[in-house]
């Protein structure tokens, strides 16, 4: 079961995240549950694979906003970085970022169980 301590240990800034949820833990956890299933993770991966940088940027940018608001720092950080690169439409190898994002997302998902 997800707990604040577990999130903290994972590296999340739960004080910020909770305060945006008006201190309501259940609400916070519910939103975290939703972000793990966010379709933008898949969209980002697919778009990067097919080199559709516009679409990849949109997906990354959306994720960045939500992860930032929930203060899920370990997932937010690589998403933030890839977003800035994609904003410039940089023609580079994004696979390392995709990999890190995917790993961190899985780690977060594991905390839910």
């Amino acid at each position: 079961m997800l707990t604040i301590d577990a999130l903290k240990q994972f590296g999340c800034n739960t004080d910020d995240g909770l305060s945006r949820c008006m201190g309501n833990e259940a609400f916070y956890f519910k939103l975290i549950g939703k972000v793990i299933d966010d379709k933008n993770f898949q969209m980002l991966e697919d778009a990067v694979a097919s080199k559709d940088l516009d679409k990849a940027f949109d997906a990354a940018h959306s994720l960045k906003g939500v992860l930032g608001n929930l203060a899920l720092t370990p997932v937010y950080q690589p998403v933030y970085e890839i977003t800035e690169l994609l904003r410039e439409r940089k023609d580079i190898d994004y696979s390392e970022y995709i990999k890190t994002i995917s790993e961190k997302r899985k780690e977060l998902a594991a905390l839910m169980k």
Partner: protein, 561 residues
Amino acid sequence: MNRSTDLYVDGKRHILVADDEMINRELLENILCDEYDVLMAEDGEMAYDIIRENRKTLSLILLDLMMPKLNGLDLLSRIKEDPDLKGIPVIVLTSDQASEVESLMRGAADFIPKPYPQPDIIRARISRSIELAEDRQIISATERDELTGLYSSEYFYRYGEQFDKYHPNSDMDALCLDVNHFHIVNERFGMAKGDEILRKIASCLMTIFSASDCVICRKTADTFLVYCSHRDDYTSIMDKISEACGNMPTSIKLRIGVYASCDKKLDIRARFDRAKIAADLIKNNYSVSVSTFDEKLMENELFAEQLVDEFPKALAEGQFQVFFQPKFNITGDKPVLSSAEALVRWFHPTLGMISPGKFIPLFEEDGLIAQLDEYIWKSTAATISDWKKRIGISVPVSVNLSRAEMYDPKLVETFEKITSEAGITSKDIYLEITESAYVRDSDQIVDRVKELRSHGFFIEMDDFGSGYSSLNMISELPIDALKLDMMFIRNAFDKINDTRMISIVIDIADYLGVPVIAEGVETEEQYLALKKLGCTIIQGYYFSKPVPAGEFEKFLNDKKF
């Protein structure tokens, strides 16, 4: 209820959250739902539809910039270009600074960064934006006069003051423009026509007084105020305005009061009071359209105000004194004291004796005349009673009634009370009613006069010849004496030495079977001429000026012996 927020104590404003990310929407909804009703849109098109549908009730839009279908910046432009929607404040939700500037340029009220700041910061920014937008809406709704599009007076004064701040050295004029007898235009041609004329004047003023150095407003119905840099020639400006209104069904006559090169140390309202004083000075003068304020005017105005202000104290302290001017019957060999007229004098502690010509018209305008007249009537009755007791005789004394008093349904009752309290009768007091009172609303006045006569009061028609009564009406008037307007005496003897008009009036009086009283008789020549013409009674300096009660006693004593 003094703050606009109080309006919403029991209700909630509506806010739209437009963001394609459900989590963001839910976060904001959770933060705002206690204070607001939150509507949600997940793409730009949907947001636009909701905004249109709720445009009358929506207080604010929280707008994410990156949304499918219609992105935030384009939606923002659409809102700000639509006159129906542009008043709704938009706060942009964004994570990049470049978009912040762009959003503000396109009309966003504010922005909230992502990740979101603390909820209380979000709420404060929202509430501030709503407040500003609502204030702005109220300002734009009240800033302009709906009919003409000119400023309303409160804003006019503010903008005038602001103009002074930016142009401290410019020479400014305060103007007050009025339409002569505008209510008649409205009555004759209807409100719609009146409104059309006012709009025409307004648009004319806007053309003549360019926006860069002038502020213009419509103050009340037909009064316009203009604050502009100094101009020398207002006559040609007035001609232009009158010309523009020329194709109206009636000739509109405008007048303008000018307080030129005004003293900026005066409150701005006071500057326009001065312009108004000047404008009112030519209210009934159709040949002059421009009137300029000068200090002398102000002195008169202040003097008038002082008199009105001090009236209650003067009345309480007995500063008003009733004087008596004798009237003599000249039909016999020797003039015989027949009656007197009560005339008021004001002995002011610092201003000395003030002429009734100065305060009576003021009091008539202010309605104070009723109190003063009642005072005169009472003290006249008391004096008559006193003479009777001490000297043993009296003569009837006439008192003046103003037009307004003739409408008082208790007038007869008042006089009955005054006479009975003084222990005298209705035969002791005569009533002088000016001819002009009969002319307007004559039926009502005539009925009142009949009522007074039926209670035994003697009615003298005052100022006869000045009120343009028709001959037809005169024959039906319930009166006991005609008092010649003083102008007849002056004209007959001063200028042309033509007494024919007096003869005519005397013939009319004969026809009515009432005596003619001539007042303002100053010389023996006049006295003899009037006697020859058949005038019955004479009043004037030739016999005596108005004198205090004590001095008048000598006439009574002469009569007695």
